[in-house]
Symmetry: C2
Subunit: 130 residues, 2 copies
DNA sequence: TTAAAAATGTTATATTATAACAAACGTTAC
DNA sequence: GTAACGTTTGTTATAATATAACATTTTTAA
């Protein structure tokens, strides 16, 4: 089961780092950042990441194997995620667009498969990098 | 530059295996399957995979680190890809839906980023697995 | 036909992620 | 309180995924 409120010590440490970061963080870069706090092994990071994802506190950017804090209350436990990714500076921005979200949530596959969840990643060059 | 027609020997071997497969294949499972053909190193697989992706012959399923053959002429060199993924049997189906593709291709981020490419992955339980 | 580009072969290593097990902590039911 | 249970932690080891670097061969195009 997923706790709604309280985070464990390691979960809180990992979430703090991800929330403070300007961009997506990789598991091992999180690890190197928390070694001073007594976390020494990848397992400890991955376990915290897994729980934080379950809770909807963070998302994994699949194309980058990296993690970002959730900035969007609409994605309710990561059922409907969309990101804008700059191929130059690696910036990732979570897209919260109700229309998009509704459109995709109600999209049904011709072959009769009912979807429970989707993840959408857009790629381009951001304004800054242009 | 990307060749339009001809594939090199290794590229053809890798593509053949992916096209014959019923589901997505992982790089190392491709490697094990082609060792009898004289391909011995991961590099050789990854190089072929990279080129095949550039050419639009295959796609990478990011959430699975696996590769499928392109079944969709509409995705023109992988600028607009969408997949339906069964969380039970791991089946992956490429979605070719012109409306969806047009809708997403013309979607523009509020923050002024122009997108060049997108990848969408839907998850659910397929008909067979229900 | 020769120079440039692409592909190959190979060894080594980097990066990402999980398995397995023992110990400590936190609930909750009694 | 304390026993029983689930969750979290710590730890060691290893699996799985992917790239670096360099020498050679093949293909293409000028």
């Amino acid at each position: 089961m997923v706790q709604a409120q309280t985070l464990s010590r390691n979960q809180q440490i990992v979430l703090d780092i991800i929330e403070k970061a300007k961009g997506p963080l990789k598991a091992y870069s999180i690890l190197f950042n928390v070694q001073k706090k007594g976390i020494n092994a990848p397992q400890q990071i991955y376990r915290a990441l897994d729980k934080l994802i379950e809770m909807g506190k963070i998302h994994k950017i699949e194309s980058k194997n990296a993690f970002v804090a959730c900035r969007n209350s609409d994605c309710e436990i990561s059922k409907a995620t969309a990101f804008s990714i700059c191929e130059s500076c690696e910036m990732v921005d979570e897209i919260s667009d109700v229309k998009l979200s509704k459109y995709l949530s109600s999209f049904n596959h011709k072959k009769g498969m009912k979807f429970k969840r989707f993840n959408l990643e857009f790629f381009g060059i951001c304004k800054k990098c242009k």
